[in-house]
């Protein structure tokens, strides 16, 4: 199994969610995140005082998938979250050792 993690622009969340649903993913975990990549942050001005805000708001999506689906899921996320502009985010996957469904105790792929 793999854990696919994506950090994307917040306004693309719905598109990604719908795309993953159509692909057949059963569940996702979403959290609000902040950070920066090459685009860095932005500048705000309050009463003439300029502040640089380095960390921009992002959304982090985590999906547990079967090994065979990992590349496809990454592709689905990239396609549905892409705007082509700087700051679109990143997607990566890492191997997962164990997954347990808490309600039933099922393990492994059964638990996805």
């Amino acid at each position: 199994m793999k854990l696919v993690t994506a950090v994307i622009k917040p306004f693309k969340l719905d598109d990604v969610k719908n795309a993953l649903e159509s692909f057949g993913v059963n569940g996702i975990t979403v959290s609000e995140a902040s950070g920066y990549g090459r685009q860095r942050g932005h500048t705000e001005v309050y009463r003439g005082a300029e502040y640089t805000v380095d960390l921009v708001p992002k959304v982090r999506i985590e999906v547990l998938v079967d090994d065979a689906d990992a590349d496809d899921v990454i592709e689905v996320i990239v396609k549905s979250s892409q705007t082509g502009k700087i700051g679109d985010g990143k997607v990566w996957s890492i191997p997962v050792e164990a997954v347990v469904r808490v309600r039933t105790g099922e393990r492994g792929v059964e638990a996805l």
């Binding site: 705000e44 009463r47 003439g48 805000v53």
Partner: protein
Amino acid sequence: MTPSSGDTAWVMTSAALVLLMTPGLALFYGGMVRAKSVLNMMMMSFGALGLISVLWVLYGYSMAFGNDVGGGLVGNLDFIGLEGLLAADPLGGVEGEVAGIPPLAFVGFQAVFAIITVALISGAIADRAKFGAWMLFAGIWATVVYFPVAHWVFAFDGYTAEIGGWIANDLKAVDFAGGTAVHINAGAAGLALALVLGKRIGFGKEPMRPHNLTLVMLGAGLLWFGWFGFNAGSALGAGSTAALAWINTLAATAAASLAWLAVEKIRDGHATSLGAASGVVAGLVAITPACASVNPVGAIAIGAIAGGLCALAVGLKFRFGYDDSLDVVGVHLVGGIVGTVLIGVFATADAPAAVDGLLYGGGIDQLGRQAVAAGAVMVYSFVLAFAIGKLIDVTVGFRASEEAEIAGVDLTTHAESAYELGSVTGGGYRSGTGTTIDATSREKVQA
């Protein structure tokens, strides 16, 4: 003699409007600080509401409006505990002409001025003051600075007592609703306290963005609304003077807001909501002393000048390195000076104050009187506020600990947090005996 019902109704309504300015100020200031210290910011205003009201009734009114003890410096204690005012003759009554208002209506109207003046100072010491030390400062500063200065500026001979204060009667500077006594006074005290307490941790380096600009705009709106009572109510009657003060309060404020936005657009590239709200307050401050001595076009001029200058003045703290957190100096001291001094330029004898300024052929005499009044209040307030602040700082300590400041003074001084947004905090109710009442307590799990 029976007081005028119309005048009395207007003055009492105005007093209630001015009272609302202090919670409005709490919102205006509260939105500008970070989320971790908004309650402390608002509590400094609410603390002043409580403390200054009580002091005013006990002895503040008497110090401000009792008969002068000499030199126009402070009133005597004839009215201590509002002694003798329950059945007194109306104030300002002239047999057969003006019926006047009950003394207690005037007491109430002036009480709310004292409260807001003290509350205004708190913007200079956001995020880092101990609440107890602030309350101590508020009581002492009101007693030795505000009450006497209100006597100087607002106590006219023969109104509440035979002899009043020196600025009103001897110097004859024009300050209709408190450019000196309220705004220069609070602004100078704010500067002193900002110096006594020192900079916030991270000032000028870390971002200290306003956490809620909608609160700021709501607060500015309430201030503007209440300010109609502040200025038009200062006519102490419902007549043509009040009407002029009302229109001037509209015109100057609107012009100041536009001017502030124009400065921002040209300098920073964006017209901001904080700029619009700040411009409103700058305009209100500047027209306060002038609202019965200029015509509405003069009011627009004063407002526009104040809005532009204050928009520039708020940058001074970064240049000189003092942390006047919410710009009490840049808005109230600068705006107060602009309004007070410009009376000497824009005043017209057609207005109720009946004084001609420079532009209307009055020469520079009035300008000089205005400058003396502004300077005297500024120096007196600054020196005493600095001394009181230092005294509190070396005895009980004025500034919260470094740890408290970083965690947020809301939590450390009030044991509260303003916003409960997260759901994963854990814990349960704690009863007086220290036992925890919690759905997941051991007994329930075992049962």
